[in-house]
């Protein structure tokens, strides 16, 4: 079936919810076997969490190149309709015949935009940069790195501000449309793939680890942004408290993971992510001391080689024992990591310039608005073959890394094709 739109209604084969790596893969691969797809993403950009990674493990290559290949596949494909700034309001119907209400937020900028950036230059209004997890500010009119379409977006909270007029005036292409309102679109789809990905576990809940209380305690996702060239410090890893260089850094594994009081499961990626991040530090600071506190290093399959390589670095130290207390040094913003080394039986208190909490993945599907019969497991992941017929992809199904999420997305397309075949 070809995609067709009339008024506020779109008819398609497959609706893919979530424009991260899994959702993009699913929509593209479905279209490449001749099915039409609508890809819905709540942010103004595609790529989701992957767009915010600095490098992949274990190859340490930047995710942007992979995303760009997907962008190219999307652009030369007329059977995928991409709706960014869009969320799902409600779902009714059953496999073969779903009706889904979507809510599209205004971008306040139309297709005339050439992304020249003149509006951003003159803009005086700022907002916390969510892309960088709030670690810096961005302008009220902005273009995320992986914006889709590749044009600017303006903040709803700022467009009515008198100071915003300067931005509008700076535009030579008449691309501002401040009268845009949120609008509803109805999609009739025969299958739904749910790929809403994950959020990092809220480190503020780890009250013994000092996140939010001490500036030099950050999370692993923040570390990705600190190391990224388009991050808040232009790729230079610096201590948040004083922007100083890092000589001693501690990675706190299982921060809130495998923990009945927090996330009961192992996300399966944080060990490799921390090993990867040691390499960011190593590259920028050849003399820095790096300490990893762990319960078990979980690097299955070929990732074991990566672990062996990192372990061979004589300035990277592994301590078996979970950090259960972080406090600030009395006379500096250094942080003291407290753990019992279970191999020696001694309590160690080590002072670090920076502590990185390896927090796990919370599936967004656990809190997404889904029909009653979209059953989830105890941890909130979508159950395979759940009665709603909604098909999970990526971290909606289970905690996995990028490569597995891509493979899982391909698998989800086969399930969708089966649904189409049956209906």
């Amino acid at each position: 079936m070809d995609i067709s739109a009339s008024g506020d209604r779109i008819t398609t084969d497959i609706l893919v919810v979530g424009g991260g790596i899994a959702g993009m893969t699913a929509a593209i691969e479905a279209s490449e076997v001749g099915k039409s797809a609508v890809l819905v993403e709540k942010e103004p950009y595609l790529g989701g969490r992957v767009a915010r990674m600095n490098q992949y493990f274990p190859k340490l290559c930047p995710p942007i190149c992979g995303l760009e290949i997907n962008y190219k596949r999307l652009r030369c494909n007329d059977q995928v309709k991409v709706l960014t700034l869009t969320t799902v309001e409600s779902i009714s119907g059953k496999p073969g015949n779903y009706e889904v209400k979507l809510l599209v937020q205004p971008r306040y900028i139309n297709d005339n935009c050439t992304a020249c950036g003149e509006c951003e230059k003159v803009c005086t209004l700022e907002a916390p940069n969510d892309f960088n997890l709030g670690m810096n500010q961005r302008k009220a009119v902005y273009k995320p790195e992986m914006a889709f379409p590749p044009i600017y977006t303006a903040d709803a909270t700022h467009v009515k501000n008198a100071a915003f007029k300067a931005c509008v005036d700076a535009c030579k292409y008449d691309a501002f449309d401040l009268d845009q309102e949120p609008c509803t679109i109805t999609v009739n789809a025969r299958a739904i793939i749910w790929a809403t990905g994950w959020s990092p576990y809220d480190a503020l809940k780890l009250d013994n680890l000092g996140f939010g209380k001490y500036k030099n305690v950050i999370t692993n996702v923040m570390m990705e942004r600190l190391a990224a060239a388009d991050g808040p410090s232009a790729g230079k890893i610096l201590r948040p408290s004083d922007q100083a260089a890092i000589m001693k850094i501690g990675f706190v594994q299982c921060a809130g993971s495998r923990d009945e009081n927090h996330l009961p499961y192992c996300s399966g990626v944080c060990c490799s992510a921390s090993l990867k991040q040691t390499q960011y530090v190593r590259e920028q600071y050849p003399d820095a001391e790096i300490h990893i506190f762990y319960i078990d290093i979980r690097t299955p399959g070929r990732l074991e080689d990566f672990y062996t390589k990192v372990d061979a670095d004589e300035k990277i130290f592994f301590h078996r024992g979970k950090v259960a207390e972080i406090r600030e040094a009395p006379d500096s913003n250094n942080v003291i990591l407290v753990a019992e080394n279970t191999l020696t039986g001694a309590i160690s208190e080590m002072e670090m310039d920076l502590a990185v909490l390896a927090t796990g993945m919370v599936p967004n599907v656990s809190t997404d608005k889904l029909p009653q019969d979209a059953k989830r497991d105890d941890w909130g992941f979508l159950l395979a073959n759940n009665p709603s017929g909604i098909i999970g992809a990526g971290v909606a199904n289970r905690p996995i890394d990028v490569a597995n999420a891509v493979q899982d997305a391909t698998g989800s397309v086969l399930r969708a094709l089966q649904t189409l075949q049956r209906s």
Binding site: N208, E260, N261, K322, A324, E340, T342, G345, I347
Partner: protein, 399 residues
């Protein structure tokens, strides 16, 4: 490295000999979650009482999982633990180290008991009736011996209530003193075993600072300093403090009563007092205040355990037995006095007093084997820990 082709060659001193029965015993004594532990050591870090050089309870969890009985029963850390349960509330696996250590202490009472069968009797609900029967019969014997067949006064609905007529103070005090001597002798055997076990299992032996360790342990107990380091189970501190001083006060009251109403009377001293003592006699006052302390303190602890608050930990048979008995001693003591002094209904008064005496002797005679014994073992372990520097704290103050 110890493996050769086809056959394992393990040096004798590396061979672990797990005591499977011991593992079962720990699990059945309240530590059933023991095996969930995956040795992350969160517990040793969050514990405010954990020592610098000998952190616990992570290591103890491992030793218990492996059935290393000898090592555990000689471990002073079991007694440095005051069951704050900060470990339990923070444990990522819900392995409840606080409960496991409580189970290990319960096993210690049993293992060090002399005579040994008494340890088993106090931890076995099946023996409960028999344990109560002993003081009940002894007291009945006293009653019949003193009153002969003239028991009618016991069953009156009104009239004077004279407990000393039914249970003469002289005999009771003899039982009290004789019992105490015997009990302390039996307890001493167990404690000596414990002490030797502590010494033989560790290279450090207590230095010359024994007396100063004893004094500082005494001070610590007097102010319940360790309890105030707790976080999860902090409000228990007040219940325990009241019960502790209530019980101590009651014991002192009994001693003073013996001294002034019996010994001084025998000696014809002018300081002698004629029983029964009534307010505002200071000895009676001490007795009433102490009884109230036992009652209120006991009630706080019981209700905290009943509500199964997270920080309280699991309650087992020996916890309930000890707590209910000691609380009931205070309760029946208060009632006995109230009825004698203010609401004289002899039949009720004598009955309650009889129950009170059974409970008192139950508490006293079985002290080395019930949870009451924690006062002996814990004190000794703390003294050992202090005199060897074992308990050097990691934290100067809880944060």
């Amino acid at each position: 490295m110890y493996l050769t082709k086809g056959r394992a060659q393990v040096p004798e001193n590396l061979l672990l000999k797990p005591d499977i029965d011991f593992i079962r015993q720990v699990k059945s004594s309240g530590g059933e979650t023991l095996k969930k532990c995956y040795q992350c050591a969160t517990c040793s870090v969050v514990c405010n009482l954990s020592s610098k050089d000998h952190p616990f309870p992570r290591k103890q969890m491992m030793l218990a999982q492996w059935g290393m009985k000898d090592q555990l029963l000689a471990d002073p850390s079991l007694w440095l633990c005051h069951q704050c349960n900060d470990c339990t509330t923070r444990c990522p696996r819900d392995a409840r180290p606080g409960d496991a250590l409580a189970a290990l202490r319960a096993i210690s009472f049993k293992e060090y008991a002399f005579p040994k069968f008494m340890g088993g009797a106090l931890s076995n609900p099946g023996s409960l009736a028999l344990l109560f029967l002993v003081p009940a019969l002894v007291l009945l014997g006293i009653l019949f011996k003193g009153s002969g067949s003239d028991l009618g006064y016991l069953f009156q609905m009104s009239g004077e209530v004279d407990y000393a007529r039914a249970f003469p103070h002289g005999i009771l005090e003899m039982l009290f003193i004789g019992g105490n001597i015997l009990i302390f002798a039996f307890a001493a055997v167990g404690l000596l075993r414990f002490w030797n076990h502590l010494k033989s299992n560790h290279s450090k032996s207590p230095g010359s600072g024994f007396i100063s360790a004893l004094i500082s342990t005494g001070m610590e107990i007097a102010f319940h300093k360790k309890f105030s380091s707790c976080e999860a189970n902090k409000s228990r501190q007040w219940g325990h403090l009241l019960l502790f001083y209530g019980t101590a006060g009651s014991a002192i009251t009994a001693g003073l009563a013996l001294f002034f109403t019996i010994i001084m009377v025998k000696l014809g001293s002018p300081l002698a007092m004629a029983p029964p003592l009534d307010l505002p006699n200071p000895i009676k006052l001490l007795g009433v205040v102490s009884g109230l302390g036992m009652f209120i303190g006991g009630w706080i602890l019981i209700s905290r355990r009943r509500r199964q608050l997270d920080g309280v930990g699991k309650s087992n048979y020996i916890d309930w037995l000890f707590l209910i008995v000691i609380f009931s001693v205070g309760l029946t003591g208060m009632f006995s006095y109230t009825i004698r002094a203010f609401l004289p209904v002899p039949v009720i008064g004598y009955l309650i007093y009889y129950v009170h005496l059974i409970l008192v002797f139950f508490l006293l005679w079985y002290a080395p084997y019930s949870k009451f014994a924690h006062m002996f073992y814990r004190t000794l372990a703390l003294v050992y820990a202090k005199s060897t520097g074992w308990d050097k704290p990691r934290k100067t103050s809880p944060n």
